[in-house]
């Protein structure tokens, strides 16, 4: 029962009413959750049974002064009832735990997978912190909804109902007189807990503010010290710190008012019931045994009910969390494996753009009327100012974004007919500032291939990417962790690991950003060589930042404002003049100026 449900599509659970959505989310756990609730009823009945037994024992053994032989049996019966009560309580907690943990697991897994299948468009706008928050704390709130709140409300209600029913069966008038204040208690409890939850939220907010102040002070410690501003910082922190104290005090004031009042109310109800009952015994209307049973049960009606407001308030915040989670769930995924054309072979890598248009938002064209033909194995360099559409153009190839007009064919077949997984499996990307995962270097290099990779293969890729020697320099070699818990890699090193990662994946089409972070000339040459070997025999799109890429390109595209304004080889473009020539002139001027500068001194 534990692992079966992770494949449930949570999108199907969405409903206009959140409570309905939660019910659907419970699929597979509904029965056990109902059993969990019913078990609480059983426990409540066993508890009431204990008091009834106590009453009988008083009346029929003590008062009647007989059946002494039955005493051990009665004692055993008490134990038996305790076992039933304990067993049912445990059973209920266990089943509720199973439900809650199961649903949390299901939701976590769904969200994790869902997030990695949401399109770029979604991730462009979403904030990481918020997504993580929703996937963790909000899911935990849903878990608590089932494991603590829903079941807790059930417990209070059932204790109340069961005990009241038994009381009524003992004596209806007495029962009624014993719950006079209950409506008031419930109303007060609802009012109070709503109020306190707001106050508590304000308190928590201040906690967050305080942490932020501290965080800022710590990350700016050099500034604080350099300007000798310790006193100033202290007084600033103290303001927030004191504010937190005052908000905390307010929360406590609310508590210190509510509980005594609620205590007085409930205690007087209790005393009233006990007095009325006592008088009834004296008038011969009920037996002393009934009275003893009553005195035990009445407490379970009056006291727990005061917490009803707390649980209901918490439940509503659980519902809010659920609402936040559904906002992610309802976003449509991009299908990875859907496509009419699934070749078994790798693509040759010929591309044909015909009037391709692309816009992020309607009316805001990023690419306009792109016509382009690329032969397999060609190197295409893209050149142009920021926002000219270079990245957008290459992002269309793995279908990170969908072109909004025209036709784009890979090996003669419309790109939209290929499943995304196929395209991404055969297109490699080396970004400017590549993202590495906090795993070992080996795992990072092997990240793109879904098979067992031998150490030889990994080393070969690392060598070709000119990073092998650097890796061996780390104390744990290929097993060195990357990131916070391991080594901090420079931009150039990250880039070369990404190159190794791409080499190992062996894609047919390549997209790369050839900028290198500021590295020394030797390293620059190494990276250059690594990139060269990467581009060998692959259709390559290079977002160019350096002249060498242009020289090597079979085709240079100059983009401006989403259109290709110039195209050709280096020589052709030079002859043609225009933007390319200007760029090239600037480049030559640089060399001239350097000469002059050095000659001049």
């Amino acid at each position: 029962m534990t692992d079966q449900v992770s494949d449930m599509d949570l999108q199907e659970t969405l409903a206009d009413r959140r409570i309905v959505g939660l019910w659907r989310l419970m699929r597979g756990y509904r029965l056990i959750f109902i059993i969990a609730t019913l078990s609480i009823g059983v426990a409540a009945m066993a508890r009431a049974g204990t008091y009834l037994l106590l009453g009988k024992y008083v009346d029929e053994i003590l008062v009647a002064e007989n059946a002494i032989r039955l005493l051990p049996l009665v004692a055993l019966a008490f134990l038996g009832l305790a076992l039933i009560q304990g067993g049912a309580t445990y059973f209920s907690g266990r089943l509720a735990g199973k439900t809650a943990e199961g649903i949390a697991k299901r939701t976590r897994e769904y969200l994790f997978d869902h997030l990695q299948r949401l399109p770029f468009r979604y991730h462009d706008k979403a904030r990481t912190g918020e997504l993580v928050q929703r996937s963790t704390s909000d899911v935990d709130a849903i878990r608590r909804f089932f494991s603590e709140q829903a079941i807790g409300v059930g417990r209070i209600v059932l204790l109340f109902v069961v005990n009241l029913a038994v009381l009524i069966s003992l004596d209806a008038r007495l029962a009624l007189l014993s719950v006079l204040v209950v409506p008031i208690t419930i109303a007060m409890s609802f009012y109070f807990f709503r109020k306190i939850s707001n106050a508590y939220e304000a308190y928590q907010e201040q906690e967050a503010t305080l942490s932020t102040r501290l965080q800022e002070n710590l990350s700016g410690v050099r500034v604080v010290k350099a300007f000798a501003r310790q006193e100033y910082e202290r007084s600033k922190f103290d303001v927030e710190n004191w504010e937190k104290f005052t908000r905390g005090r307010y929360v406590l004031r609310l508590h210190s008012v509510y509980w005594p009042i609620s205590d007085i109310l409930s205690s007087f109800q209790l005393l009233f019931g006990l007095t009325v009952g006592a008088l009834m015994v004296m008038d011969g209307m009920i037996t002393i045994g009934t009275y003893v049973a009553y005195a035990g049960m009445i407490i379970w009606i009056i006291w727990p009910i005061r917490n009803l407001g707390r649980l209901v308030t918490q439940m509503s915040s659980g519902l809010v969390s659920y609402g936040r989670v559904t906002e992610i769930i309802k976003e449509p995924e991009e299908p990875l494996d859907v496509g009419d054309y699934v070749p078994t072979e790798a693509p040759a890598g010929g591309l044909e753009f015909a009037g391709v248009e692309f816009e992020y938002e309607a009316g805001n064209a990023v690419l306009k009327d792109i016509d382009l033909r690329v032969q397999p194995g060609q190197v295409v360099a893209l050149l142009g100012p920021t926002g000219s559409g270079k990245s957008s153009l290459v992002n269309l190839l793995p279908r990170f974004y969908e072109y909004t007009g025209g036709s784009l064919k890979l090996d003669g077949v419309e790109l939209n007919d290929y499943p995304r997984s196929y395209l991404r499996g055969h297109i490699g990307i080396v970004e400017q500032e590549p993202f590495l995962f906090s795993r070992t270097i080996r795992e990072n290099i092997a990240y793109g291939v879904q098979r067992d990779v031998s150490q030889d293969e990994i080393e070969a890729a690392a060598r070709a990417a000119a990073i092998h020697d650097v890796i061996l320099g780390f104390s744990e070699g290929y097993d060195t962790l990357v990131g916070e818990r391991g080594v901090t890699l420079s931009g150039g090193q990250k880039q070369r690991i990404a190159i190794a990662r791409t080499l190992l994946a062996d894609p047919q089409i390549l997209i790369l950003d050839d900028s290198t972070s500021s590295v020394d000339p030797e390293t620059e040459a190494l990276i250059r060589a690594a990139l060269e070997s990467l581009m060998q025999d692959r259709t390559s799109f290079v977002i160019a930042h350096r002249i060498q890429s242009l020289m090597r390109a079979d085709l240079i595209l100059v983009l401006d404002g989403g259109s290709i304004v110039q195209r050709g080889t280096h020589e052709e473009l030079l002859e043609e003049g225009g933007l390319y020539e200007q760029i090239h002139d600037a480049q030559t001027r640089i060399e001239d100026e350097l000469e002059r500068e050095i000659a001049g001194v």
């Binding site: 051990p72 997030l115 993580v132 501290l214 008088l279 035990g296 420079s490 500021s518």
Partner: protein
């Protein structure tokens, strides 16, 4: 919060009981001993009254009902009613006293931690993760405060509850009371043992949970790579391992918790059984009353709550002790650099600066500077260039006395600077960092940070000199614009200009700048250059330089490699030498001009 911080915390958990730490934790409440006494008395009162209630109920049965004495019944009722108010006052008292005390202790501890943090040396912050410190100041102080207030309160309540119940049981029937007492240790011990186990389970849950958070974080941050490499299935499979662990641990924690109460209840049911049995026998022999038996049953049932609470406190005690240890370790850490006993303020630090055979290491195994000597006449501008890790930052860190040399002497105006007070040096220092750090607040607040007493006009003047004024007034709210946490709402170039204005306003005698490597647009760049130029007049300046114009403007250029001065001289001299500097310069020159001419349309982001 980064995953590693959680790991850090868990490893730090001590399992040994430390009386010393407990004493020190309790000492946190000493300044507020009246409150402590107050809540201890009120909780004792409340818990005693609770036991009295049960006793009165028994008396109502025996002396009222069974004796058929209405007057006696009503007397007991009246006493009960009176005590309800006493109890309510007590409840009010302990909630308020203990609660506010808790907040006070939190306030005190946060305050003294923060104040202490301001004293600690930079080396401390270089080796301690920010997340770790934040946890000390927030969650650990919380736990310590909980222990001194609610923990102490629950234990007091529990003890009083049990002891008074015992007293009343003895009063009612001492033989039966002795039988019940035999069960008490069993109940208490089983509760404690159970609690410890549950706590361990929850700790495991938290550990896995932090891994899950880390996994989500990485998955969302790296989603582009995942998509590009088609790793979705594999990632989900790996994540499935984590959620399965979480399920197992969570479920185990859930059912262990669910088992706790029933176990304690069943143990106590034995006590109830014994009461029914022997109490019945005694009743029949006239030694026990019905009210007495009923009271015994109530006492046993209600004893479960204090036992449960005390078990909880006991289990959390370990945790609170560990928290306390960590908090105190932070409080006790001694600033490595502090004023010498006879430290003085020389009145000015604008003098010749002498690095005299300086040795320095962060870690004795790998020295950063060895026998480094340099003298800088007052007013000179020094540009430091060279590869990362060569020692440039160390030189300015030593000059700022964020660190002190491990060998040799730094003299300012002929005097060893360790004789000066830190305040004397820092208050005359102007610093612009590579990644400019702004505080949340307005632009005005941030510039004024350089000189708190400056009026608006002076702030504006500094902003003009720095070249920041124009872009500031272009913003909708001008100088009152909020910069956001860490200045996120501004561009890097804007942050640089503001931090430059801040340094200008401070009117320092020594100016230190670590130039940003990340590129800014040409206009901002020239503004920054003008600002730096304004800054360099009439003070001694040290600039870790990345921009050619800055380098060329320096009086002297130092090429620092492997903790040594590899080359030194003016721009012209060094170019002629055709050595390290020449290579650095030509490479930098090409790169920079490529950017300036926007050869490739966009500046290539240099990330050193």
């Amino acid at each position: 919060m980064p995953v590693s911080d959680f790991g850090f915390e868990e490893e730090d958990f001590t399992t040994s009981f430390s009386g010393q730490t407990l004493k020190r934790i309790l000492a946190q409440a000493r300044p507020h001993w009246r409150r402590v006494l107050g809540f201890l008395l009120t909780i004792a009162l409340v818990s005693t009254v609770d036991s009295i209630f049960t006793f009165i109920t028994a008396k109502m049965i025996d002396d009222g009902i069974l004796a058929n004495d209405r007057a006696a019944l009503l007397e007991w009722v009246a006493l009960y009613a009176g005590l309800i108010f006493v109890s309510a006052v007590g409840v009010f008292g302990f909630i308020y006293l203990a609660g506010v005390l808790g907040e006070l202790i939190r306030y005190d501890m946060r305050r003294s931690l923060f104040n202490h943090l301001q004293e600690l040396s930079l080396s401390y912050f270089d080796r301690t993760p920010v997340g770790w410190i934040i946890s000390r100041v927030t969650s650990d102080t919380d736990r310590v405060a909980e222990l001194v207030t609610w923990g102490l309160l629950d234990v007091t309540w529990g003890i009083f509850n049990i002891v008074t119940a015992m007293i009343f049981m003895v009063i009612i029937n001492w033989q039966l009371a002795l039988i019940v007492f035999a069960f008490v240790p069993v109940i208490v011990i089983s509760a404690l043992e159970f609690r410890k186990r549950i706590l361990g389970e929850f700790r495991l849950v938290r550990k896995i949970n932090s891994k899950i958070t880390g996994a989500f974080n990485e998955s969302v941050t790296g989603v582009r790579v995942t998509k590009a490499l088609g790793r979705e299935e594999e990632n989900l499979r790996e994540f499935g391992g984590l959620t399965s662990d979480m399920y197992k641990a969570g479920f185990r924690a859930a059912w262990l918790s669910a088992l706790f109460l029933p176990i304690v209840q069943i143990v106590s049911a034995f006590a109830v059984g014994a009461v029914v049995w022997f109490g019945g026998l005694q009743f029949l022999s006239g030694a026990m009353t019905i009210g007495g038996i009923s009271a015994f049953v109530s006492y046993i049932v209600f004893m479960l709550w204090p036992v449960q609470e005390m078990a909880r406190v006991y289990a959390e005690l370990q945790h609170a002790l560990a928290s306390g240890e960590r908090v105190f370790s932070l409080m006790d850490s001694i600033p490595e650099i502090s004023d010498r006993p006879e430290a003085f303020d020389p009145g000015s630090i604008l003098g010749d600066i002498e690095f005299d055979h300086i040795d320095f290491h962060y870690d004795p195994e790998s020295p950063v500077l060895r026998d480094f000597s340099l003298s800088v006449p007052r007013g000179e501008t020094i540009a430091l260039v060279g590869p990362t890790g060569g020692g440039k930052s160390t030189i300015v860190n030593l000059l700022s006395r964020f660190y002190e040399p491990t060998g040799g002497e730094i003299r300012i105006g002929g005097q060893d600077y360790t004789g000066f007070s830190l305040e004397a040096i820092h208050s005359r220092l102007g610093m612009v960092l590579q990644t400019p750090h702004l505080f949340s607040g307005t632009v005005m607040d941030n510039i004024r940070y350089g000189h708190l007493e400056a009026d608006d006009a002076e702030v504006e003047r500094a902003a003009r000199i720095a070249g920041a004024h124009d872009f500031i007034i272009e913003m909708e709210e001008g100088y009152e614009t909020e910069v956001g946490e860490g200045g996120v709402l501004l561009s890097v170039g804007q942050k640089q200009l503001i931090s430059l204005a801040r340094a200008i306003l401070a009117d320092p005698e020594i100016f230190i700048m670590d130039e940003a490597t990340s590129s800014v647009d040409t206009l901002t760049e020239s503004l920054i250059q003008r600002g730096i130029e304004a800054m360099m007049t009439d003070r001694t300046s040290f600039i870790i330089a990345h921009r050619l114009s800055t380098i060329k403007r320096a009086d002297r250029i130092l090429v620092i490699e492997e903790g040594k001065i590899a080359e030194m001289g003016s721009h012209v001299e060094l170019l002629h030498a055709r050595g390290h500097y020449y290579r650095l310069y030509t490479q930098q020159f090409r790169r920079q001009l490529e950017q300036e001419y926007e050869v490739f349309g966009a500046p290539s982001p240099a990330t050193a």
